[in-house]
């Protein structure tokens, strides 16, 4: 092995940061297309949203005052937070157990479990929302099935309410919960568990004293990820909420496309972005987005 490798790679890194040689110019050039596209077509429009929130209809923080005075906005924020927290809790619980079972499965079984998690992850949100409507609506398959068996007389109200939204959102979020937790759990040395069992610990003791503490970072990462993804969700709540339960994203769309109240829409959009970025900043040490999207499949 390279004896001088640490010195050399430190050398390389330092050379890159301290002396930006003309020969590095070409490599900076490679960043340019993505940087320009991102700046002009992504960052600029979003900064404009932030700007609109303090300039329309009149300059100032009037839109933000509504956060404290307007019952409608408060209700939307309350609904959003409530649904997101429930979704996060349920998705984490199901995802955790699933990851636990996957981690302990044989390599062959692991492949099948993973497939069952990853295929839903990449199936269109729209298709999934449609499928849930098919299943859960008044004349849907679930109600008809239960009625045919005689378990219920009247169809249950399973969709176009908060319950439907949570079903659809949890369905979307479980894979996102599984990936970071699975990554964390795979780093746990399996010999530790066998050793603890061999030392006389019960299955529950092994889990609560060894496995749970070691997988905690993955649990936190998954929680943050699922929560911030849920906050801005649009399609699933819009379809499965049936317009009766308003969450932040749909409320923003309503303000801008239907009521043309740009200031209010932009204000809530800004609140959404700030909340997400602050949450991420707080947990930046445990959440690695690259790992979620790059490592799992």
């Amino acid at each position: 092995m390279p004896r001088d490798a640490p010195a050399l790679s430190a050398a390389g890194a330092a050379a890159r940061t301290r002396h930006i040689l003309p020969r590095d110019a070409g490599w900076y050039g490679l960043l340019l297309p993505a940087f320009l596209l991102m700046t002009v077509l992504y960052v600029a429009p979003i900064l404009q949203v932030l700007a609109i929130s303090v300039t329309e209809p009149v300059p100032g923080f009037g839109n933000y005052e509504r956060l404290f005075t307007n019952a409608g906005v408060q209700r939307v924020i309350g609904t959003t937070l409530r649904i997101c927290l429930i979704t996060t809790a349920v998705a984490l619980l199901l995802g955790y157990v699933l990851s636990y079972v996957i981690t302990l499965a044989t390599p062959r079984a692991q492949r099948w479990w993973l497939l069952a998690v990853l295929v839903p992850l990449w199936i269109s949100v729209l298709v999934r929302a449609f499928a849930w409507v098919t299943l859960l609506r008044r004349q849907g398959l679930v109600n008809e099935g239960l009625q045919a068996v005689g378990l219920i007389e009247e169809p249950l109200r399973l969709v176009w309410n908060e319950f439907g939204i949570v079903i659809g959102m949890v369905h979307y979020m479980v894979p996102y919960a599984v990936l970071p937790m699975l990554a964390a759990m795979r780093e746990i040395d399996p010999r530790l568990l066998a050793a603890a069992r061999g030392l006389g610990a019960s299955r529950f003791a092994v889990f609560s004293r060894v496995f749970l503490p070691l997988s905690a970072p993955g649990l936190v990462a998954a929680g943050v990820l699922v929560f911030i993804f849920s906050l801005g969700f649009y399609i699933t709540p819009a379809i499965l909420g049936g317009g009766k339960t308003l969450m932040a994203a749909e409320w923003i769309k309503l303000q801008i496309l239907d009521l043309v109240r740009w200031g209010m829409g932009a204000m809530l959009a800004t609140v959404l972005v700030v909340t997400i970025l602050v949450t991420l900043a707080i947990f930046s040490r445990v959440v690695d987005l690259r790992r979620v999207f790059g490592g799992g499949h």
Partner: protein, 367 residues
């Protein structure tokens, strides 16, 4: 590939600092045309950083790199025309052996026919023509090393740089390839700069060896000179094994001096500057230059001691002899017709000539 194609390389006050850490500290040296120079040092001595600065991958903080008196410090690596054999060889895994060797010619836009001829010649040079269509992963370590050599030489580079070229190989293969590398150097007549931490490799391959420690050039010279006349304790210790004898200068004569160490008096030949009487002196004495004296034998220096430990090494014995005034002295004793059968506690009398040891500097004083 003629001998005239070799180029001379010079480093002038080369330094490289990373924040507060100095990896290379004002190193100046010259490599003459066609010479084989080895940069030798322990890990962290700065030898690889120097090689990377010569290749152009590391920009020096101070100093200059000159090729035939031309300053090339600011030239990017791709315009230096240096061949390089990387640590681990860095062969392109998605190309065949021939494609790997053709790579430097391809980037220079050489026409196909000429390119093929050169590749064939280069593969012949390292006796790998049969493997032209294999992938690097299908070759042994030694073969990969030779592909790397062919690739580095195929475009008639001004200079060949080798970064620990043999370190990935096992010991036996390494010895074989050392000889091949040396023969290759003679055949192509190019200037080679090699980096290694293996002192044996440095001694056997090089025309000259530069010894580095903590980023500084400690001593540069022919292998024999470095081994026989180390300037500092570090050089004597790093190249081969050595005993270090401490004493005080008692008497100075034109051809030597007398030292006092406790009750023991030593005579020592001196070339060049003589130390002043009363000053402390340090001698480096190689274990193989010490003999065991029989009862009727004498030597310029004689010391009594007892064997504290010993080991049989095949070709010889290694003895650790405890003495009263000079501490433990290591002795290499040929096993063939050894005058004694070593055992612990056996009293022995050690002897060596006045010119067997060399006065060396403590490294702190050398700086």
């Amino acid at each position: 590939m003629s001998a005239a194609a070799g180029h001379a390389l010079e480093l002038r006050g080369l330094s490289k600092r990373y924040g507060g850490f100095t990896a290379v500290d004002a190193v100046s040296l010259r490599v003459e045309r066609g010479q084989f120079l080895t940069l030798l040092g322990p890990s962290g001595s700065g030898k690889t950083t120097i090689l990377m600065a010569i290749a152009g991958f590391v920009a020096p903080s101070e100093g200059a790199v000159l090729l035939d008196r031309r300053d090339i410090t600011a030239l990017p690596p791709e315009r230096r025309d240096f061949g390089m054999v990387f640590q681990g060889y860095a062969l392109f895994p998605h190309m065949t052996v021939a494609e790997n060797v053709a790579f430097p010619l391809r980037v220079r836009g050489m026409p196909r026919a000429e390119r093929d001829a050169k590749v064939r010649a280069a593969l012949d040079l390292v006796q790998l023509s049969r493997f032209a269509d294999r992938r690097p992963s299908q070759l042994s370590g030694g073969q990969q090393q030779r592909v790397a050599l062919a690739r580095a030489l195929v475009f008639d580079p001004a200079l060949l740089l080798l970064d620990e070229p043999l370190s990935a190989l096992d010991k036996k293969l390494r010895a074989e390839l050392q000889e091949e590398l040396k023969a290759l150097h003679r055949r192509v007549g190019r200037t080679f700069v090699n980096v290694t931490h293996d002192q044996e490799e440095a001694l056997s391959l090089s025309d000259r060896v530069a010894i580095l420690n903590y980023g500084r050039l400690v001593q540069i010279g022919a292998p024999e000179v470095l081994y026989e006349q180390p300037r500092t304790r570090f050089v004597a210790d790093f190249l081969g094994k050595s005993n270090f004898l401490h004493g005080t200068v008692r008497e100075v004569r034109p051809d030597g001096m007398a030292l006092q160490a406790g009750a023991t008096r030593l005579v020592q030949a001196v070339e060049g500057a003589h130390p002043a009487p009363g000053t402390p002196a340090l001698l480096s004495l190689r274990p193989e230059k010490i003999v065991l004296l029989a009862e009727d034998e004498g030597a310029e220096n004689e010391v009594d001691g007892t064997i504290a430990a010993w080991a049989y090494l095949g070709a010889g014995y290694s003895l650790a002899v405890r003495t009263r005034d000079l501490g433990e002295i290591r002795v290499a004793l040929p096993a063939w017709r050894a005058p004694i059968t070593p055992r612990e506690g056996l009293p022995v009398r050690l002897g060596w000539a006045a010119d067997a040891a060399v006065p060396v500097l403590e490294d702190a004083d050398a700086a």
